[in-house]
């Protein structure tokens, strides 16, 4: 009898710590968490692990010239505040003059979840509905529904399999800092971004800086963004599209620091009003 109880106990714990991988032809989806058990009234990080297969890629929230954004919808029990989804920094891919902002291989999309203090069940489920367009030479739209059960307890229990991986993914998200002191000026065919270069010195051998806008259809991402440093200022000249959908009022997006090894992801979030001297001159 004790053996049966022990087997049931072990099996139930395996279920709690091992979420199901949802397999589709191009992408495997899995909901993961830094904890297997959490205290009510606290916040924690979960994540969606997306593993691209067959050398496919999927797209960032701004896909660039082609493709469609990856969409993630999180469902939590009644009374929970909405989960916050943080997309990681994408890669800029330019082929035959067409720019895409993509994810390849494997990514973790961090999700911040708060469990209300008043929540008094023994556990709760997180449901994620993920939609993507997976492309190699041919594109296929697909989706997956993943879920994960988290236990509520008196003590948080760390998930050794995923905690470090999620922590790394969170640490790689774009940083919000005032020390950049960014300024953006509208030129005839581009926006000139200026910011404090101290941040580059801190981060080692940065060979260039790329701006990725959150909004679609404004910038010509396939064109070179000219990067320069002089004294304590760095500049990035960001070409505007000749066929832009609107005149941007703010420079809103992320700047990615591209290092020699191109492995470490360092990015900063930018949201600065654009000084439109060009318009004034006209």
């Amino acid at each position: 009898m004790k053996i049966i109880i022990l087997i049931i106990f072990i099996f139930s714990n395996i279920q709690l710590t091992t979420a199901k991988v949802v397999k589709t032809p191009d992408v495997d989806t899995e909901l993961i968490s830094e904890f297997t058990a959490i205290i009510a009234g606290s916040e924690f990080w979960a994540g969606i692990r997306l593993k691209m297969k067959n050398k496919c890629h999927i797209y960032w929230t701004n896909p660039g010239d082609v493709g469609i954004p990856t969409k993630i919808k999180i469902n939590l029990p009644d009374g929970f505040p909405p989960a916050k989804v943080f997309f990681p920094v994408p890669k800029l891919s330019i082929e035959t003059g067409i720019a895409s902002l993509i994810y390849e291989d494997e990514i973790i999309v961090p999700i911040k979840i708060y469990v209300p203090e008043s929540f008094n069940s023994k556990d709760f489920s997180i449901y994620a509905n993920v939609e993507w367009l997976a492309c190699k030479e041919i594109c296929t739209a697909d989706s997956a529904k993943a879920s994960l059960v988290i236990k509520i307890g008196n003590k948080s229990k760390i998930n050794n399999k995923w905690a470090k991986i999620i922590e790394n993914a969170v640490n790689s998200l774009p940083i919000q800092t005032e020390s950049l002191a960014p300024k953006a000026i509208r030129n005839e065919n581009s926006i000139l971004l200026t910011f404090n270069s101290d941040i580059l010195t801190k981060n080692g051998s940065v060979k260039k800086v790329l701006f990725f806008p959150y909004e679609q259809g404004i910038y010509e991402l396939a064109e070179e963004q000219i990067f320069a440093i002089s004294s304590n200022k760095a500049t990035v000249d960001i070409p505007l599209s000749n066929l832009k959908v609107k005149e941007p009022e703010n420079l809103f997006g992320i700047i990615k620091l591209v290092k020699d090894d191109d492995k470490e992801q360092i990015a900063y979030e930018i949201n600065v009003p654009i000084i439109n001297n060009y318009k004034e001159l006209k």
């Binding site: 010239d65 030479e137 739209a141 259809g217 396939a222 000749n242 066929l243 959908v245």
Partner: protein, 203 residues
């Protein structure tokens, strides 16, 4: 003769400038071009001066294009405006060996299956015209007015998905732009963000 020589020279310059960013802008003259159609005719944009012209970038194997052809959405739009004197040109900029590039028989078979009757299906396999018009997706749409001015560039509609169910609730930008233009009204959205597969240009 001199006119033809100058025209050929301009076309050569155009071809040499492929790597440069297309300098196309809304409310400015649309670049002229000459391409072969699937029926063997030589078709130039300037042949249609005095008429509204729609350029539609096509790749019959792209799921975004199939969304609009499987549902008859694109064919209905083509028929609606061709009847009103608009010239509708399909342009395929897929390079040989890439998705969407077919031999003539296959193109005609696909067109027949889809019951599409544009004024011409034009072959742009070196991508010259696609790049001149900054065409990046299939579908990608351009509208040129009777004076040869580009008056619309962008998406077919506002539902950037492959779902056929989205068509009924979509705002069709091309329908709207043509309707305004034919009635001498200003177009509300002259540039929209196109969506779809990438144009399969030569490497």
């Amino acid at each position: 003769m001199i006119f033809h020589t100058i025209k050929a020279f301009i076309l050569i310059l155009f071809t040499l400038n492929l790597s440069a960013l297309a300098n196309i802008r809304i409310d400015e003259p649309a670049p002229d071009f000459t391409l072969k159609s699937t029926t063997g005719e030589t078709v130039s944009l300037s042949d249609f001066r005095g008429k509204f012209v729609v350029l539609e970038w096509i790749n019959f194997d792209c799921p975004f294009v199939q969304k609009h052809y499987d549902t008859d959405n694109m064919q209905k739009l083509q028929n609606k405006y061709i009847k009103q004197g608009v010239v509708w040109l399909l342009i395929c900029s897929s390079a040989p060996g890439k998705q969407g590039h077919f031999d003539i028989d296959e193109i005609h078979k696909r067109m027949k299956n889809y019951k599409t009757n544009p004024n011409a299906y034009l072959i742009d396999e070196d991508g010259t015209v696609g790049k001149a018009y900054a065409a990046k997706t299939t579908p990608d749409m351009r509208i040129i007015n009777p004076d040869g001015i580009l008056i619309y560039a962008g998406a077919i509609d506002d539902k950037a998905t492959t779902s056929k169910d989205d068509i009924k609730n979509a705002r069709n930008y091309v329908d709207e732009a043509l309707n305004y233009a034919l009635n001498n009204k200003p177009i509300k959205d002259k540039v929209t963000k196109p969506y779809g597969c990438s144009v399969k240009y030569a490497n």
